[in-house]
């Protein structure tokens, strides 16, 4: 097929269309490649009902009741960023995953992989922030582990946290419960975390006051439990892959379509500006202190009131609705009245020049 083949070292891809036989960075982006990695290399080995529900946390029986369990590994670089560090992120991320299933987080574990050469003052700040975040949420870290690896093997530090929460039967959001007619609500402005990280990357540096929005969503969820209860159909936090990926996942899991209004999606001015500069779409940028809720339309007002009563949810707003049409597809109505599909990205969003 090709003319003079360009032999590139040890590479031996036989044909341009064959997918690479190794893990790539895009597999960690939360987009289609991540989904494929899961489907092709994990689920075939590990399938069981609790896992296959593929919620933010797994729901497992525990005597007369049920527990939610979630685990997450944090590999963010830089370790410290405006608005937090890998330690606070590790707590918030896992607490939020447990809370998105409607569970009340009870306990955390924390495992650390430390890179040789990591300065102690960095370690102290990270562990201090981790402890403070857990304490603020009222959730103790009851067990942990530390390992040290050679220089160059761990980007400073990796942290895994696992959270366990108690579930009640009267509050069960799940990714499969979105129903036509549901209002799609976001608890606050999007994209701060992703752009705060981006601003610190070498080669893309820019000055901004954008701070990560990393926060525990537990109180917001409690507010929804009290104000709406069982009619909260779906809760999810739009982390990697942003709002677009989250909505696509839920649309697929619930086999429904979604329609959102571009003008209604809240993006802070400086996040929007940074996205303009790099040619990024804010719909795909991660937030770590925002939740997406889907509730039947008659309950939307109550849900918004409950969210807005909380300091983290003051800017809660409705961005669209779930529909029966075009199941699995998320459609956006643009500011000028056109429509387009908002798809999952294959991998990471890349800054562009065109």
């Amino acid at each position: 097929m090709t003319g003079t083949a360009v032999g590139i070292g040890a590479l031996a891809c036989p044909a341009p269309l064959t997918p690479a036989g190794w893990v790539q960075l895009g597999h960690g982006s939360g987009g289609k490649m991540s989904a494929a990695l899961l489907a092709e290399h994990f689920l075939p080995y590990l399938a069981n009902p609790a896992l296959l529900a593929l919620g933010d946390a797994a729901v497992v029986p525990a005597g007369a009741t049920e527990l939610a369990i979630s685990t997450d590994t944090f590999v963010v670089s830089p370790l410290e960023f405006p608005g937090g560090n890998i330690g606070s992120l590790a707590v918030h991320g896992t607490l939020n995953d447990v809370a998105m299933m409607g569970a009340r987080p009870r306990y955390l574990s924390a495992g650390f992989v430390l890179e040789e050469g990591l300065p102690f003052d960095v370690l102290d700040r990270v562990v201090g922030a981790l402890a403070a975040s857990a304490r603020a949420a009222g959730v103790p870290v009851v067990t942990g582990d530390t390992k040290v690896v050679e220089r160059g093997k761990a980007d400073g530090m990796f942290i895994n946290t696992t959270g366990i929460g108690a579930l009640d039967f009267d509050f069960r959001p799940a990714p499969t419960r979105a129903a036509p007619g549901d209002a799609i609500i976001v608890s606050g402005p999007l994209g701060r975390h992703g752009m705060a990280i981006m601003a610190a990357r070498e080669g893309l540096e820019f000055e901004s006051r954008i701070e990560s929005d990393s926060a525990a969503l537990v109180s917001l969820v409690e507010g929804l439990r009290a104000g709406v209860g069982l009619e909260v159909h779906v809760l999810r936090d739009p982390t990697r892959g942003g709002l677009a990926s989250t909505l696509n996942e839920i649309a697929a899991a619930s086999r429904v379509g979604m329609e959102i209004e571009a003008a209604a999606v809240p993006v802070p001015g400086d996040v929007a500006a940074a996205c303009e500069m790099l040619g990024l779409d804010p719909l795909y940028v991660a937030s770590e202190g925002v939740l997406v809720a889907m509730v039947p339309q008659p309950w939307a007002a109550a849900a918004l009131a409950a969210l807005r009563a909380d300091p983290l949810g003051r800017a809660a707003t409705c961005v669209g609705r779930v529909v029966a049409a075009h199941p699995g597809l998320v459609v956006l109505r643009t500011e000028i009245g056109g429509t387009r599909i908002v798809d999952m990205l294959p991998g990471d969003q890349l800054p562009r020049i065109c």
């Binding site: 540096e205 500006a273 303009e276 500069m277 020049i353």
Partner: protein, 98 residues
Amino acid sequence: MCLGIPGRIVETHADAGLLMGTVDFGGVRREVCLAYLDGQVEPGDYAIVHVGFAISKVDEAEARRTFEALRELSQLDELDWMREVAERSLSPGGGESP
């Protein structure tokens, strides 16, 4: 072609003889090379920036003038458009494209 966005020049300085500046894009700031607009711009001016280089100064008077003209034009047209859209969606076979 290409991603060029308007920003406001906040300050200018020389970096080993090359004219550079800090440009503010809606709250986000970046260092930008102003060498191609040397002598034409000063702090407070707006420039179009592409890959870290200012490629033109925004003609603010021109921008204002044409935008006002467009806005006036469109106030009449928008009513027409809305009527047209309403008519199309009411007619049989009209509405959303398949």
